[in-house]
């Protein structure tokens, strides 16, 4: 592998690894999402440094120009990461839907529980006008 491209690959994957590690350190994302990123950055860095390994890999899959094998590996990781995100997003929207439904039903139940109090407070108003009126305003919304 040419020196120029090797240096570029090392710098790029090294930077990726650094950014990922820094984000994990700051707890910017959950470990389970960091794991895949860490793995891809490590593999990319290893293959950039260890050019013998990259050339062997290129040989095995029939790629004449070894840096292209690096692209292939990077592309593979990108695909897996995207798939991973689609799964995560689907799961999140499922859970969001469930939360919205449960919340809607809880709100309905709560307003139903508050409704009868309007009547009882209304009767009590004869005794204490002030408190009854205040409650009434709260529950009738």
């Amino acid at each position: 592998m040419e020196l120029k491209i090797q240096v570029l690959a090392i710098v790029a994957s090294g930077a990726l690894l650094f950014v990922v590690l820094e984000l994990v350190r700051r707890k910017a994302f959950l470990e389970r999402y960091a794991l895949l990123w860490l793995l891809s950055a490590l593999v990319m860095l290893t293959l950039s440094v260890w050019s013998g390994g990259l050339e062997a890999l290129a040989e095995v899959i029939g790629i004449a120009y070894p840096p292209n094998a690096l692209f292939l590996v990077a592309f593979g990781f990108v695909l897996v990461l995207l798939l991973h995100f689609s799964l995560a997003v689907s799961k999140l929207s499922d859970q969001t839907k469930l939360l919205a439904q449960r919340l809607a039903m809880l709100e309905q139940r709560q307003s139903k529980l508050e409704q009868p109090q309007v009547h009882s407070e209304g009767e009590k108003e004869l005794e204490g006008v002030g408190s009854g009126a205040r409650r009434g305003r709260f529950t009738s919304s």
């Binding site: 839907k97 469930l98 439904q101 809607a104 039903m105 139903k112």
Partner: protein
């Protein structure tokens, strides 16, 4: 809940302020002993207030979940509150609430049914006022679905349906997202529940915008076909036939 009804009428509504009041009035006029639940799917107009004033119980989503999510909230509510039957009626006024009786009497006559669907295509000269492209699309789904489930299904997109406890339990747990009516027919089949259709009338939509926009019929068709085939491939627990209430085994979500 002593004097509560055994029937719950669920009206999913998203920005149907013009029509939802009339739908509720009509249900309450013809079936005063049924409870009415309006699922306000995050409407930006006065749908929720109008429904509440018309005497319905209103469950309001904090944001729009889509028709599948709205109907599923109805199933969850029916399951939670222990209703025996749930009727689904669209909030846009295209169904005739006075025809709910046709659904309930079909289930009454055949108690093994878990779902009864109102079909607009079972009578000759039904004159359903929809563009030809849409009708053709529905007929194509009907043809494919009928082959898949081994039973004639003439109107798989109909949202005018009655479910019993088994139907409610199944769909409270798992109701399809985007084109739920079509896929629900498949689910009923794969869970070995029983369904049939009865002829009903359907009117032109009273207001609002259909979830199926006209002019996009081809796109809609492709998506529904895709949903059917994804639905076919989806792994589902298939209960044994004749089991008492297989779908109720796993309660909660």
């Amino acid at each position: 809940m002593a004097n509560r009804s055994s029937h719950l009428v669920v009206v999913p509504a998203y920005n149907e302020a013009e029509t939802v009041g009339h739908v509720i009035d009509s249900v309450r006029e013809h079936y005063p002993h049924f409870d009415v639940l309006v699922v306000d799917d995050g409407s930006t107009d006065r749908t929720g207030q109008i429904a509440r004033r018309a005497g319905a119980t209103v469950v309001r989503h904090p944001f729009n979940l889509g028709i599948g999510g709205a109907v599923q909230t109805g199933f969850l509510y029916a399951l939670d509150q222990d209703y025996d039957y749930m009727v689904q009626v669209d909030g846009d006024g295209q169904h005739c609430p006075e025809e709910i009786g046709k659904l309930t009497s079909a289930m009454g006559a055949e108690p093994t049914l878990d779902m009864v669907c109102g079909s607009r295509f079972m009578t000759k000269g039904h004159g359903y006022p929809a563009p030809i492209s849409r009708r053709t699309g529905i007929h194509i789904f009907a043809f494919i679905l009928s082959r898949l489930v081994g039973q004639r299904v003439s109107d798989p997109t109909s949202g005018f349906r009655l479910y019993n406890r088994r139907g409610i339990a199944l769909f409270a747990r798992d109701y399809p997202h985007d084109y739920p009516e079509v896929e629900a027919v498949l689910m009923v089949h794969f869970h070995r529940l029983r369904m049939r259709e009865v002829p009903v009338r359907m009117l032109q939509r009273g207001g609002g915008v259909s979830s199926i926009r006209s002019g996009k019929s081809l796109y809609y068709m492709i998506k529904v076909l895709l949903a059917i085939f994804i639905g076919l491939a989806r792994a589902r627990p298939v209960p044994e036939p004749g089991e008492a209430a297989p779908v109720a085994a796993t309660h909660g979500i």
